[in-house]
């Protein structure tokens, strides 16, 4: 067993931390307040090489491993959930299915531009009437000559509507079998396809500087080359994409917890009441001790899960555990961090306020905490 990060992983952590402190921290509050997606930061993250970082070089990636990617998400989330969300959703949900299930031709067509930070890609699974029950989706596709025709709608699709979002992979029902079971198939739908409408969603409590969209398909026609994987493979594509996505949501939880903890630690040593720093009151010192302990647990469990994936071992159960655990650690730590800040923790001038809101999504997106427990219990044979 070797728990030491390689020189490269450490350098990636330092680099992304420097970047987040220098480029993101100064603008994060304002972007959040204005609910503004930043093309500039996205392009800069692209220049840094964060988009598609785990793809081989021939597709425009950097050939890095899962752990490197997860460390990058963690470091972004330590400073800002929205930017971390843009990156994590794009890398795990957006380009993941294209890379793992696309034909060589599809990969060469889409992936290089998706590694630049100048083009984003979405993953359209969730529908208004099908969230946790992802097999309840109703968007359909039927073949017509050399095309497929898609009808239906999707909701809450990250990176789905901003100008530089050039397309999405969309989960559809292509057949209902006699026994009532559905056949799911995934399609590539490019921006600008007739019948494909994108509407950005406003009024989010969290991830306010990230793009969330509704997608509408009204007799939307795509050529048969836009089939991703095989007919009927949609369910498998969806499940494996979510396994990977869970690692990056876990990383966001870990990063948010780390960020909130650091703010609380510093504040507790500066804020004086009753003549001494509030960190000197044992109740606060113990809170900080608990936070530090939970973060260490979360980090090493998540890193081990990355190690499983990088070593081609099964990791679906661990991914669900990591997602669940890290997102709940983020919740607990952010909550106590606000408590340590007292009234100031409720003010927008304090970064801990934003982390407190941003972490709330992590127990809901990509499978709620309840669904993670369901997944884990199924792995236990229950």
């Amino acid at each position: 067993m070797n728990f030491e990060l390689t020189e490269e992983h450490q350098m990636i952590r330092e680099t992304v931390r420097d970047f987040a402190e220098r480029e993101i921290r100064p603008v994060a509050k304002e972007l959040d307040e204005k609910a503004e997606f930043s093309l500039e930061l996205t392009a800069k993250m692209g220049e840094l090489g964060l988009f598609g970082m785990y793809l081989p070089e021939k597709y425009g990636g950097q050939g890095l491993d899962t752990l490197a990617y997860i460390i990058a998400v963690e470091e972004l989330a330590r400073v800002d959930g929205s930017q971390a969300a843009t990156l994590a959703a794009h890398n795990s949900l957006g380009i993941g299915p294209l890379y793992y299930y696309g034909t060589e031709e599809q990969k060469m067509k889409y992936l290089p531009q998706l590694c630049t930070g100048k083009a984003l890609w979405g993953f359209g699974l969730t529908e208004p009437n099908a969230g946790s029950d992802s097999r309840g989706t109703k968007t359909t596709a039927y073949p017509d000559g050399d095309d497929w025709v898609i009808n239906g709608s999707k909701i809450f699709i990250t990176n789905g509507s901003v100008d530089i979002s050039v397309g999405s992979c969309v989960q559809t029902v292509t057949k209902t079998l006699d026994n009532g079971k559905k056949e799911f198939t995934t399609f590539i739908v490019e921006k600008g396809t007739p019948g494909f409408k994108r509407v950005s969603m406003h009024g989010k409590m969290m991830w306010r500087a990230s793009d969330t969209a509704e997608l509408y398909f009204d007799d939307c026609r795509v050529p048969k080359e836009n089939l991703l994987g095989e007919i009927g493979q949609g369910s498998k594509i969806m499940l494996s994409t979510l396994d990977n996505g869970r690692l990056s949501i876990a990383a966001m939880g870990l990063g948010a917890a780390q960020g909130a903890f650091e703010l609380a630690l510093q504040y507790s040593q500066e804020r004086k009441q009753f003549g001494k720093p509030i960190s000197k009151f044992q109740v606060n010192a113990f809170k900080l001790a608990d936070m530090a302990m939970k973060i260490e647990h979360a980090r090493w469990f998540l890193y081990r899960t990355c190690w499983l994936k990088d070593n081609h071992k099964p990791f679906a159960k661990e991914a669900a555990m990591a997602k669940l655990y890290c997102s709940e650690v983020a919740r607990d730590v952010a909550n106590e961090a606000v408590q340590i800040h007292g009234g100031y923790g409720l003010m927008k001038d304090y970064d801990v306020e934003r982390i407190f809101r941003d972490q709330r999504l992590l127990q809901i997106g990509e499978g709620t905490s309840e669904i993670q427990r369901l997944v884990i219990s199924r792995h236990l044979g229950l």
Binding site: E14, E47, L48, G49, Q62
Partner: protein, 249 residues
């Protein structure tokens, strides 16, 4: 044309400095190491010059005197964009020692411009660059705030009271660089980090060299005295304290 940038491996500037129990040394356990900030700016300028030179500058080499523990810092310099690295395998002792080591290691190498940061942020000696030029018998320009390459001529801005003068040194030369040499250090890209692994990092054995400095004892600075509050109405007391206690008026 080739540029060499001397790099010192120093504790992160936010490190809380602790001393060993007998105060004979700085306790370096758990210290995070970085490229000395001035050297990082020197490297940034060297890379800018290379990129805009239209191929005229063939390479930028980084060099350090340090043990194996300095290698992550050298890899970082390679990730930022240096082409190769040289490490003289010795614990740096003082400027005199370090300058001799570098001069010795460069005996059979040719660099046209050698850049040194004005000081390293750990011991702030401000001596290495000029000592190096002396050992190498090269001209040196100090207080350098900009370097431009214009055809075959290198133009160097040297800060002087009230402004700067432009000097055109003969090559090769040593430049001791300071504020202004580059705007901001560069952040390496993921590609740079990946490529750094494959770039050459040559280790050379040290020469016989002496150090002229002996570190006897370290003292932490006195903790800041508590702030004394004087009531706004009590000007007399304030004046009295400024006179007799602070002794500044």
């Amino acid at each position: 044309m080739k540029i060499l940038v001397c790099i010192s491996n120093v504790p992160d500037t936010t490190t809380k400095i602790k001393l060993t129990a007998d105060q004979s040394a700085v306790d370096l356990a758990n210290v995070q190491w970085i490229i000395n900030p001035w050297d990082e700016l020197a490297l940034t300028r060297a890379l800018e010059l290379k990129e805009t030179s239209g191929g005229k500058i063939e390479k930028v080499t980084v060099m350090t005197v340090g043990t194996q523990s300095a290698e992550p810092t050298m890899r970082k310099a390679l990730a930022i964009g240096a082409d190769d690295a040289i490490r003289v395998n010795a614990e740096p002792q003082d400027a005199y020692f370090t300058a001799q080591q570098i001069a010795h290691a460069l005996k059979d190498e040719h660099y046209d411009i050698i850049l040194c940061g004005i000081e390293s942020s750990d011991y702030n000696g401000s001596a290495m660059g000029n000592m190096l030029s002396e050992f190498m018998e090269l001209p040196a320009v100090s207080s350098v705030s900009n370097i431009e390459i214009d055809g075959d001529q290198v133009k160097v801005n040297r800060e002087i009271p009230g402004g700067y003068e432009v000097v055109e040194p003969e090559l090769p030369f040593v430049a001791v660089v300071q504020k202004g040499i580059a705007k901001e250090p560069r952040i390496p890209s993921m590609r740079g980090i990946m490529m750094a692994r494959r770039k050459p990092l040559k280790v050379v054995e040290p020469a016989e060299a002496e150090a002229l400095t002996e570190f006897v004892r370290y003292e932490p600075p006195k903790p800041k005295a508590a702030c004394k509050m004087v009531d706004a109405d009590n000007v007399e007391e304030l004046v009295e304290l400024l006179h007799n206690e602070a002794k500044i008026i």
